[in-house]
Symmetry: C2
Amino acid sequence: MGEFKHFVIVKFKEGVAIEDLIKGMGKMVSQIDAVKHFEWGQDIESPEMLRQGYTHAFLMTFNSKEDFVAFQGHPNHVEFSATFSAAIEKLVLLDFPSTLVKPPPATATA
Amino acid sequence: MGEFKHFVIVKFKEGVAIEDLIKGMGKMVSQIDAVKHFEWGQDIESPEMLRQGYTHAFLMTFNSKEDFVAFQGHPNHVEFSATFSAAIEKLVLLDFPSTLVKPPPATATA
C-alpha cells in the first residue's frame, strides 16, 4: 500500500514535436530517483466523444507522497514542466494515493 | 510488452453514493478474468484549476488489446457501465497500448 500516483492527460498544441517532448520527459524521469515507475500512451481506441480531445496519458508512480513532493520540487522537473506547459492546449492532472483492488498475479510462474 | 490500458477519469453527479459505485466496480472487475490489474484513486493534491473538476481516476490493465475488447463486451461490464454512466457528470476515457519508460525495480531484494 501507499503508492502515490501522478496522472496527467493532455492535448498538445498543433505543430508540437510530441516525440521529442516525450523523449525529454523520459530523460527527466530517468534523472529523478523518486519516480519509481513511468509509463505513457497515446489513445488509439476510445471514441472521440469520450476522449474529449485528449490524446496522451502519462502515469508516474511513487513509493509515497513524500517522494512525489520531492519530484515536484526537483530542478529537472521544474525545468521540464516549463517546456511541457508551453506545448499543451489543455490538460487534466490528478494526484492521489492509489487503492489497489485487483493486484497483478504474483509472477510465480518461472 | 503489449500491456493495454483503460483509463477513466470522472466527476460524479452530486448526491451519488460514490463508495457504493466503486465497490460495484471492484466486484465487476473481480468477476472478469480479462482484467489483469485494477486500481483507483481520489485526487487529494492537485490544484483545483489543473484538476478541472475531475475527482476520481480508474486505471485498468490488460495483457492485450484482445483482453480489453473481451472486457468491453462482457455482460457484467455492459451492465455496470449503464449504472456508472447514470452517475457521472463528466468523464474522459483513454484506451491505449502502454509504453513503459521506467519499469519498477525488479523485486530482487528478498
